[in-house]
Symmetry: C2
């Protein structure tokens, strides 16, 4: 292992957000899974919980640009099991869902231990998950379309969490002096 | 047209960000184009400039969940033409690109007239665009992967622009009281 790679691994470990998690409820499109896993890793989230659409689903090698080497994926048979696990870890459980009860995602305190449930691309959040979650959140939209892509919405929420934690000094400044990262690609 | 739809159209028009634009330089994957166009529309950006990979590229019907009905796509033969156009409109031209000259995307003032260049998924920003842009920006990353998905990165930057403009009262609160929007889908 080169010294540079060793340094990167140490820095990534130092910036892990052990009390922030993503929970995917039946999200199944490969490009969405890939983008979500990469974004989670980019903000130091190394634990992703998931309920899969079927046995053939799940994260396959190559889905996430090698990120699976650094992530822990926790499979659950049902969303209630995932929520029970997350709550037992002391996390507030948020769910992205359009309703009159939902609050703007920026109004939530992400410096608390937090899990964010993102649901299936077409079907959206299921009743069981909505009932079990602590808070429904929405990303505000000003246009004519009804929804954002699920990986886009996940990223917007995760980077808000990162912003709040950075401000609260829960994290140090997470851009590496020797390794600014491109904002785009793939 | 129903009164509700009429109201939505009026609200969307009222929240247009006429001095904020996205410029896509050879971005070509359909799911990325779809997600970017939908996100742009969600923050009131109705002008997308684009240089396409080839003549077969471009936005096809169905790519963006009907959003193409509300967007104006401006095609350019070369990125320099796009940048000339954007600068002639008085916009600062930002480009997402990893380099020592790049600044954290949150350090930029998006309340100014602004265009954001996002580049091809694999190749990244070209030399001509980097040279012609006013400022290089990056989204900070704390993990082991090198980059974010291009639609994810675009969304993170656009929602930072929306946040700043909302704070600066350039926009009113852009969540519709009668129509909170789901954070996810498709």
């Amino acid at each position: 292992m080169t010294p540079e790679r060793n340094q990167r691994i140490r820095a990534a470990l130092a910036h892990r957000q052990v009390d922030l998690a993503v929970c995917l409820d039946r999200v199944h499109k490969t490009h969405n899974l890939s983008a979500i896993i990469r974004t989670a890793e980019a903000v130091g989230v190394h634990h992703v919980h998931a309920v899969w659409m079927d046995q053939q689903s799940g994260l396959r090698k190559g889905t996430s640009m090698g990120t699976h080497n650094w992530m822990q994926i926790h499979d659950h048979p049902h969303i209630e099991d995932a929520i029970d696990t997350l709550r037992a870890e002391g996390k507030q459980v948020l769910i992205s869902h359009m309703s009159d009860k939902a609050v703007d995602f920026r109004e939530v305190d992400y410096t608390r231990p937090t899990a964010i449930i993102m649901s299936q691309e077409r079907l959206g959040a299921c009743e069981e998950a909505i009932a079990a979650a602590d808070q429904q959140i929405v990303v505000p939209m000003a246009g004519m379309v009804e929804s954002l892509n699920v990986s886009v919405a996940t990223a917007i929420v995760l980077y808000e969490a990162q912003r709040q934690r950075q401000l609260a000094a829960c994290t140090s400044r997470i851009i590496f002096p020797s390794r600014k990262s491109s904002a785009c690609c793939f």
